[in-house]
Symmetry: C2
Subunit: 613 residues, 2 copies
């Protein structure tokens, strides 16, 4: 109990819920890293695609980044409205469900749940891969280190969301600060060391640039916006007034992410950065602007940090969304229960377990999962924006800003849908087909779960409160091996329950049967106990007893209650269990859940032989 | 059930016991292979030790083999008397227990149980090693093949001892026939191709031959007699009259083994065989006498067979001995129970499991276990012979043949004790130290087991049959989540048991508490049910319930009976279990075996949602 408190913290009272919630900056530090960490690879993703068409094509990174930044503005504006409309969180799932219906809502929900799980696996392995490349001797332990980090994140989040905010706020804001610094200095410092490639100087359209290439670059770069939805799912994590804080957090996230992303793209162009497999674009920029000094190494370090912390955003988002979907009965009820620390512990544990399993199954090579990831998020973006458009169109009351919202939503949805289509097509063989199977599979499961809950509720519902429990005839069956103190203890229970007790004994031959009957007559315990001796030609005690009890229950009508009371020795030391046959446990295991039979063991606790002396 | 019958055979009635027993030749084919298989390595073991002193020392194999043959005669004579005195089997353990006391008896028992287990591991791996050397591509599967053979032997023996006799009699008698043939031909065929080593022609004593060397050669060669004791343990396997059949089997075993062993030694000397690591002595002899033809290859094949079948002797001996020791309460009671096929199935399963584990742990290299093996058997030989001497000396009635028995026993015991001492000293570092730990360890365990059984019997024993079970006050506690059909079903059971029923509900706040009380008052099920609403500030249902029940049981006196009836949903499909919290199962798991509390689940079976339509 003390160990548990040490690891997970002391249990918290329900009325202390508010104290576990987050302020604006704390909430931002939990819910933003997934999005912010995209800065470490967003610009690079665009440049890598463009570079295939030659260095001259890199110029296109500027308009593409601009378009992505515009999409970010649309997303932030849309989600701010969604948060205002749904203060309990749930984002795309809730608005999709309410405006478009269950199928689109569940599609968004399934996509987001899959995405949160993948985020944990991918972020942790990306962070560890960076760490391991610095210490090559640790390569063999990659999977173990990844799993340990997932375990650590699980434990921290089980302690509570505040604890993880306290731990992770530092690196998050340090990362923001450092990128801002780099962008600011990079915009004004003279470009001394930059290579003066002729292609860079003549921004013409190379013939190699096709529409498909631009679309692919846009689609790749748009991975920079994954994670923007997290705040909309996590509104209840904020202190009251949660909606206002969440909307403010979204605004700040948009400002930070937009500035960092666009800034990086601009200075990457200014310094004529060409992506290469060895050094990231961010590292190249840092080396150009600040030299290979303290800043360079600190940035590498903080990058690893922000990638790992990105996983933490999932630990906030997944349990929140799962709890909302479970309240709608699409998911198992256990996701609704809040644990000792007021968190949705089952969601956290399930997320940790599945993502650790993914890491183990893919042996730490989760790169193949990355394509899956943007698809899920952009599906949810599309559903969220379409829903918002429909909601606004139906909403007769508030005309103010309606047209803007509709335009933003429609255009945004068009852009996000483009990303989904391009990603599914271009990355289908790389793993995107998994999404096409996993998400409908999950949706099918949601429907099955809800069908079960509805069926259970129907079957349990009382027609009226006039139905009362009835007293019925009750027969107690007690298996008896010999007449001893344990038998007496069990019989005392049986007689206290009912005046119809049957003692059942098993004999292997007629001599033994006669002996049992003789001993019983000598004892003559009570007029309410009848002795039945079964004979077994097959030396089994269990089977004759099982037959007797099940036949007895079949012969009596449904109203007749049957209780089987099994005497069971409880030994003082666990090794001593192998010295006893545990007929009782076997019998109970076979009879439990049997129709119209209630089974119970009557424990007889033995003292330790050493204590006796 | 049909699959089980297919693998293990149909259950057999107790009165059919006699039909499962064995005739003389069947019994011999089961109980002799362990001893007979020693012929494949006995002579070689002597020659290998002698060869270290030069070829001139090989001559000593003749007197050493003669001494071992004499010891065999003594052993057969002694064990024939033991079998006559103990028709229920048990060999050295039983006679040791009865004449020398528990400690020597248990020493013999422990040594034999360890030995039977090692025999299985060593024989199977030796057989598979021979097989694999013929098909080198199978080397990587050695351990798997070994484990599969152990599994097969386990299954065959679970089917019954007759089945294994039918399977294995052929190879056993073919082996005997082939060795007899080789000895007969080898004694008379002219020695044409034998190398005429000068040392062989001058049987003088080389200075390198020391007493220790002769003792070691004797000790090594005496491994040829391991397995002779099996018949004395397995007397009950024979058809009536079992004693006569077992005595006859011992006589035949002595004749066969003696002739084969001495014959092999003599012809090995006649053909001037020098042991070498590549070809066994038997194979060298076969090549000299019959050439590298059909006989040679058939013998290699049959040798593999007899080594594997040797393991089968343990499957007959171990369960018999374990059942006898378990009847004396030194071992768990489960070893006494005979299964569906009238065999001591737990003994067979335990033997199969432990020997398979040994093979896995030693990764198929069980050669290191061989030294352990002779030590155990010779310990049991020594105890058997010393016991026989003491028994005869105490036995005033039968004077006939008494002096002979005493002489034979005393001299035999001297020889066998010599083997033990030499083996322990010369092979201590090679693994014999394990015996010095394992056997006393096992004996300690025997004493602990018996102490437990005696303590249980003392605690359960009734002072007199005048003690009767008493009717006591009985309170039934029913945890209630909401008022539904399941609640009614459980309450009906509760009211049928007692007029004091407490319904316990858990509320998370005062609103919820008020709502529960209000619904309950509306329902008003029975005047005998009292509602208790517990409040939980920590959102746990389990803990408040546990506290309530355990406090209640502490407040009431010991005579007051307490039953907790837990309503439990039983879902139609097992995957649906994850959709429910199973509070009942958790509660039962915590309360079961709790002092003075009887817990039972009242199952409420749901129908399948699909069937409903």
């Amino acid at each position: 109990m003390n160990l548990k408190a040490l690891i997970f913290g002391h249990p918290m009272k329900t009325r202390d819920s508010e104290t576990t919630k987050l302020g604006l900056w704390q909430g931002l530090s939990i819910l933003s890293p997934d999005a912010l960490s995209s800065v470490t690879y967003g610009t690079e993703a665009i440049l890598v695609v463009l570079a295939t068409a030659g260095v001259g094509a890199l110029w296109y990174s500027l308009p593409i980044s601009g378009l992505i930044a515009l999409l970010l503005v649309f997303l932030i504006m849309s989600y701010r409205q969604i948060v205002a409309a749904y203060p309990n969180g749930g984002g795309a799932y809730v608005i999709g469900r309410d405006t478009l219906g269950n199928v689109p809502g569940l599609l968004a929900g399934a996509a987001l749940l899959v995405d949160y799980t993948l985020t944990v696996s991918v972020s942790v392995t990306a962070g560890v891969a960076a760490l391991v490349s610095a210490f090559p001797s640790m390569t063999t332990y990659t999977v173990i280190i990844c799993v340990l980090i997932v375990l650590l994140l699980t434990i921290i989040n089980l302690r509570g969301v505040r604890e993880s905010a306290q731990l992770f706020a530092g690196p998050v804001y340090l990362f923001i600060l450092m990128i801002f610094m780099m962008v600011a200095v990079g915009l004004f410092v003279p470009v001394a060391h930059a290579p003066t490639l002729p292609a860079y100087l003549a921004p013409t359209i190379p013939s190699t640039v096709t529409l498909l290439l631009v679309l692919r670059a846009f689609s790749s770069g748009s991975s920079a916006l994954t994670g923007v939805e997290a705040i909309s799912n996590g509104v209840p994590l904020f202190k009251s007034p949660g909606t206002r804080r969440a909307r403010m957090a979204l605004l700040l996230l948009g400002l930070f992410l937009g500035t960092m992303f666009v800034g990086t793209s601009v200075i990457a162009y200014r310094f004529h950065i060409v992506p290469n497999g060895n050094v990231t674009v961010l590292q190249q920029l840092a080396a150009h602007i600040f030299g290979k000094g303290l800043y360079f190494y600190l940035l590498s370090f903080v990058t690893v940090g922000i990638l790992s912390i990105a996983a933490n955003t999932s630990f906030a988002g997944f349990p929140q969304l799962a709890s909302i979907m479970a309240r709608d009965q699409w998911m198992p009820r256990m996701f609704v229960a809040r644990g000792d620390r007021l968190v949705y512990q089952n969601g956290i544990i399930v997320l940790g377990t599945i993502s650790a399993l993914l890491i183990i199954i893919f042996r730490g090579n989760t790169e193949s999962l990355i394509p899956l990831y943007a698809i899920g998020v952009y599906m949810s973006f599309t559903i969220a924006m379409v829903s918002l458009v429909k909601k606004r169109l139906l909403d007769k009351d508030t005309l103010h800003g309606r047209n803007t919202t509709v335009f933003i939503g429609a255009f945004g949805a068009f852009l996000t849908a483009t990303v989904v289509v391009v990603a599914v097509i271009t990355k289908f063989t790389e793993g995107a087909w998994i999404v096409v199977i996993a998400i409908p599979g999950l949706m099918f499961a949601f429907y099955r779960v809800r069908a079960h809950y509805i069926s259970v509720a129907d079957q349990l519902r009382l027609a009226s409160l006039d139905v009362k429990p009835l007293v019925s005839a009750l027969t107690v069956i007690v298996p008896v091996a010999s007449i001893n103190r344990m038998t007496i203890a069990t019989m005392s229970y049986a007689l206290s329950m009912s005046e119809q007790v049957i003692a059942v004994s098993v004999a292997f031959n007629s001599d033994q049967e006669a002996r049992i009957r003789y001993r019983w007559r000598q004892w003559n315990p009570s007029p309410h106990i009848r002795l039945v001796v079964l004979t077994s030609q097959y030396r089994s005690v269990l089977r004759p007893l099982l037959h007797f009890v099940t036949h007895f229950s079949e012969l009596t009508d449904n109203r007749h209650h049957l209780v089987v009371l099994i005497p069971e020795l409880v030994v003082p030391k666990s090794w001593q269990n192998i010295l006893h046959n545990h007929m009782g446990i076997s019998l109970q295991a076979r009879l439990v859940f049997h129709k119209n039979i209630v089974v119970a063991m009557v424990p007889y606790r033995l003292k330790s032989e050493t204590r006796e002396k």
